[in-house]
């Protein structure tokens, strides 16, 4: 292998067909309100964690739906589960359970349960 001083840049494109959508499937089954998110961003706007960091629950949910889950595991830990997002959500998405179910899906994938 030759060192060229650069590498093939990673594609930013979401490759939906290849992406792992297990977390999404798991959350959709266990918290159906996950399906009704319209990405309005109210959750992120009110988020306690987003006050201090770039944690973006709206985007996180979307990334899970698209199967872009590489960073989700670390990102999701930033949530304090305080519930402001749930109170603010206009679509009644059970955001706290979405977080909990994402956690569980990640753990189950690591344990090869799903």
């Amino acid at each position: 292998m030759i060192e060229f001083g650069y590498n093939i840049a990673k594609d930013r494109q979401i490759d939906f067909d290849k992406n792992d959508k297990r977390i999404s499937t798991y959350v959709r089954e266990n918290e159906p309100s996950f399906k009704t998110c319209i990405s309005c961003g109210t959750c992120t706007a009110t988020c306690s964690a987003a006050n201090f960091t770039d944690f973006n629950f709206r985007k996180l949910q979307l990334m899970v739906r698209r199967g872009e889950t590489l960073e989700v595991k670390e990102e999701i830990k930033k949530c304090m589960l305080c519930g402001k997002c749930y109170l603010a959500c206009p679509r009644g998405v059970n955001t706290r359970n979405v977080i909990i179910q994402i956690n569980q899906a990640i753990e189950k994938i690591e344990n090869h349960d799903i």
Partner: protein, 356 residues
Amino acid sequence: MKLEGKKAIWKDYQKEIADDKYFYVRSCIRQNFFPGSETAFIRILREELGKDIFEHPCHTTCTGIGYHGDIVPLDTMMTVVARQFALMTEAGYENLVPSCITSFGIYTEVLDTWHHFPEVEAKVRDYLIKATGREFKIPVNIAHASDITYKFRKEIAAKAKYKLVNKETGQPLKVVEHIGCHYSKMFPDKGVGGAEYPYVLVGMIEEWGGEVVDYPERRHCCGFGFRQYLVQANRGYSIACSHKKFESMEPYKPDMIITNCPGCPMFLDKWQYAIAEMEGKTYGENGHGIPVFTYEEVAGMVLGYNPWDLGLQTHQVSCETVLDKIGIPYNPDEKYNGINGIKLGVPEMPVNLKCC
């Protein structure tokens, strides 16, 4: 795939192409990387088709690389372009034929700008007079060299010794065509067949016996992208684009790639070597790459020109696989001979990409 659908679109995008008396302008980078191509073009036009094609020794760059690389200002670019027009006018020609796709794009863009903003044209004429004392006439016809080749594709086919057909199986070769972005993506009307399903190369491939492969990333850029390549730190993006295209075309098992732009054959060819060295991945059969040709080279091949006269030895991905399939004879010993048969020495062979 419904071919009639494409044909309907192709019908909508036909352009006027002059049939003789060409003022030919070479491409900055092609004459370096694929010198055989432009030579072949002139030879085909003069010897095979009997056309009047003129080159001016004072012709310079159109500044397209600098313009798209954000280092040449618009006014400078237009003044340089005006000077090229002036050279043509002085030589008594009206039909401009650039060899470079970016030049073609630049000229088209400049003419379109002047059409909408005549005051800009007036200003540029003023600049040109002040700078060089020259004056110019607007070209009557601007056609890219591939347009000319497309126009005479049937004449070439009539004289051809070979077809783009596998002589063993009798099957047409599977050909990927790649159009330079500046050919029709900016001005779809100015390209044969438009921007979405350009026909200029497809027409040649079909006429010369090959079969076109339509793969998902067909429209994607080759990866040159000027700024992407020119800055070394950004080359990862450039190679990623080519990589994306190869990954997309690979399942179709193409025999060859035809291009009509200076950058595309360069990047589609050289990056195959780099990808092979970075990832160990090759896209052709048995560890070979997919040979990448210019349309002039392919025209020369079917007309039976000596492959080494066409400059095929300067390709990174070796062309012998295609020559063998078609049955074009070549002497391997002469591959690296210079003019007058002087041996130039054999280049070092890459590790992962098989070159003969």
